[in-house]
């Protein structure tokens, strides 16, 4: 930008050359590595928390599996989906959820901590991407449990189904998981960004969050209207069912599954745009 501010120059102008631009991502990455190291250090002081998180996650998983087993004790299939297929989708769903939970902790309390308490001022003063700072200054270590447990359930169900996904299948798995995590992040980023316009007293996040538990089932069990909503409006069908269907759904689902990265990119892009517009609107509370 060529605008020259009329006031006194307090900061040296930063060089805008190509070399700096190329170095910039590396510089920022090194900062985030430092953030992460710092977080791990602070977190290791509370090892018990990690164990408690783990126990709660295991409990939650155990109960979900128990419920699935109880339902499938009564029926052979759920509208044509077998126990192992549903289990696979369930296991897969934990992978993007784990990735999302790792980075999203600060999105939940954003309005409280950053806007009302005024911490966002501090963030804006630093010459690093504000969103990256928010996401990286704390990690939900519970997400690691979900990754491990989800991986285990996916492999278990996959083995029982006799899946042989081949090289493409294995290569696709991380891509699909990350894309699905982008769907989560995009949706919740958009919701978080709304707090720049209104104080989050409405609490839009809880109802949206609770849709997650039902997006782990094959969307074909829902009515067409709900299916439409989950595909296009609140795109949670893409966090588990559509990507997992690449593996368990047969050929008619493969193409749909491959759209997951596109949907992930779009959702995240929309969320991020909302965020950027919100940041521009931000006026400090002055506290």
């Amino acid at each position: 930008m060529e605008r020259v501010s009329p006031g006194p120059v307090l900061l040296p102008r930063r060089e805008g050359g190509l070399r700096r631009r190329l170095r910039e991502p590396a510089r920022q990455a090194s900062i985030f590595v430092a953030y992460f190291a710092q977080f791990v250090k602070s977190r290791l002081a509370y090892r018990v928390d990690f164990l408690v998180d783990m126990t709660a996650n295991l409990l939650s998983l155990g109960i979900q599996l128990l419920v699935l087993a109880a339902l499938f004790d009564k029926v052979e299939s759920l509208r044509g989906w077998s126990y192992d297929q549903v289990l696979f989708i369930y296991g897969f769903s934990l992978l993007p959820l784990g990735l999302f939970n790792l980075v999203s902790v600060n999105l939940y309390g954003f309005s409280e901590q950053y806007i009302i308490e005024g911490d966002f001022d501090r963030i804006l003063l630093r010459p690093i991407n504000p969103l990256a700072q928010i996401l990286c200054s704390s990690f939900g270590t519970g997400g690691l449990n979900e990754l491990v447990l989800g991986g285990a359930v996916t492999v278990y169900a996959g083995t029982r189904l006799g899946l042989a996904p081949g090289l493409a299948g294995y290569a696709l798995l991380p891509l699909l998981a990350v894309s699905a995590a982008l769907v989560y992040t995009g949706v919740f980023l958009g919701l978080t960004a709304l707090s720049f316009w209104m104080e989050d007293r409405l609490g839009l996040a809880p109802p949206v969050y609770n849709v997650i538990r039902f997006s782990r089932y094959p969307v074909t069990i829902f009515s067409p209207l709900v299916r439409l909503l989950l595909t296009f409006v609140l795109p949670f069908a893409w966090v588990a069912f559509y990507p997992a269907a690449w593996y368990v759904g047969g050929p008619q689902w493969e193409r749909v599954a491959l759209l997951t990265p596109v949907v992930g990119g779009l959702t995240f892009g929309l969320g991020y745009l909302t965020w950027v517009r919100g940041v521009r609107r931000y006026t400090s509370t002055g506290s």
């Binding site: 509370y46 018990v48 928390d49 408690v52 998180d53 126990t55 709660a56 409990l59 939650s60 109960i63 128990l66 419920v67 109880a70 339902l71 004790d73 009564k74 029926v75 052979e76 299939s77 759920l78 509208r79 044509g80 007293r201 409405l202 609490g203 839009l204 809880p206 109802p207 609770n210 849709v211 538990r213 039902f214 089932y217 069990i221 829902f222 009515s223 709900v226």
Partner: protein, 288 residues
Amino acid sequence: MNGATAPALPRWRRGPAATAGLYLRFMRLAFLKMLAYRLRYYTGVVTYTIFVAGNYFLFTAVYASRPEGAEAARLGGLTLSQMIAYVIVSWVGRSFTFNNIDRTLSWQVSKGEIAVQLIKPLHVQTMMLSEALGEAAFRFLLFTLPILVVVIPLFGLAPPPHPALYGWTLLSFLLALVVNAQINFLVGCLAFHLKNVSGVVRAKMIMMEFLTGVLVPFTFFPDWVQVAVAWLPFQAVSYVPVMIYLGQRPGASLAGALLLQAAWALGLFVLGRWSWNRSVRHVTLQGG
């Protein structure tokens, strides 16, 4: 402390009427406080509608996929319309019996705010129960009823086999509320002994959804599970009132079910009082 020099604090003495008046005031205040935050509950209505909707579709799919056969119209002893009623009454009931005593109490203990409560001449347990009742009155009017108004036209709720069961269900949910409040109080008391209780609170919430029968009726599980949960207090929080609504506990067994809930409510209250008295003795508060 030397008893000779320090003036002994007067023992708090109140007549029963004054005591009742005191706790009624907490009930009223809790009601008014909730009223101030009523906006929050609009999205809560959406949340519970989502819970009901998700389970509605799930169980509809399960019933649609059941094997052909004579007995197949029922799964776990329930027909599809009974199952839908089970889902609706469980979740709507939860909107009424839910409270945050565990969170509030453990937060107050770990932040040290409990000190303010300790110097008041009252029983914290009774105060929290009164507040929970006041909140429940608010919830019933401005949360539970609106959820019903949204959910019934969407999914259809079969009436109970006998109109009198409406009343018994309500009474049963009232007892369920007290049982739930006492369980939460006991969990909150753990904060006196544990450094980090938030994980325990979370684990409890996860366990409760299952052990109260909200997720799936126990009749879907093998007999030994049903026997095991029958010995636990959690079924008194949801499964019992819902089964009363469905008319699955007629006659003498209806009275038995209500008595069982009342017994749990009383037993857990006594246990809570005991646990509180013990915990308070070794509380150390950091000044701040």
